[in-house]
Symmetry: C2
Subunit: 141 residues, 2 copies
Amino acid sequence: MTESSARTAEESAPAAPSGVPDAFDVFARSCPSRTTLEHVTGRWGGLTLGALHEDTLRFNQLRRRVDGVSEKMLSQTLHALERDGLVVRDARPGNPPHVEYRLTPLGAEVSTRLLGLITLLEDRMPEVLAARETYDGRGGK
Amino acid sequence: MTESSARTAEESAPAAPSGVPDAFDVFARSCPSRTTLEHVTGRWGGLTLGALHEDTLRFNQLRRRVDGVSEKMLSQTLHALERDGLVVRDARPGNPPHVEYRLTPLGAEVSTRLLGLITLLEDRMPEVLAARETYDGRGGK
DNA sequence: CAGAATCCCAAGCGATACTG
DNA sequence: CAGTATCGCTTGGGATTCTG
């Protein structure tokens, strides 16, 4: 991820009276929080965190759980999440190799929020589906 | 942790002949909930919903708020969200044209969850940044 | 202002093959 | 099992132009 930030996140933060450091603002294009949000909500990031919320899992277990992910993308996703401090890679020596992935405390908080969102959506899918039909039915399509 | 292993919902065929209430499972590749999740957590979907959580906004206000989005992508994102029943497009006739976007009740619930996630991340960014440095420092890169 | 349509490059991603 | 490396298709999405 080419993060060529010559100047780091500075959006016109108005009067910060005290020595309060500029808050991170995900709406600002170059705020580092934006890339983390993208890792978390990206195509595979959210599902990966969701899967790990339930259990510590090994690489191939994860692959099976997150239906449709390729090895490459899972590996890549895991690296990004590990780098951001949301996931820990726990490798134990031996043969065959044994590696487990687990959430950090922060990762657990994030995945809790994410799972709340996922559950909400799953619950309300009938509404969504109905809306789509209405939309497609008249001039929408 | 919510319900641990109560998810035996392994269905490959979302369509059940009789009124079987097969649950939507976002982990399944072809579940319709997956596409909605992607609209919501996609690159611009989350930020758009987040922006609309605060206010009803017009197209160009939205564009300014969601820093970095192009007209095309905003338009596209808005359509997807409208189709899924999360956003309402409220157009009033006149010249110049006046169009507002507003969340539906479901959209408001979703954006509340999303905003919780965003806020959490913004708050904990120092942790994330520290993790990145550690990771990059010792051979991770 | 609000948005549709077109063009087009770069990034995303899957398939495959290879390593330890 | 747990990955990395390479290749090439597909897509995302920015820039630009055009309508009402």
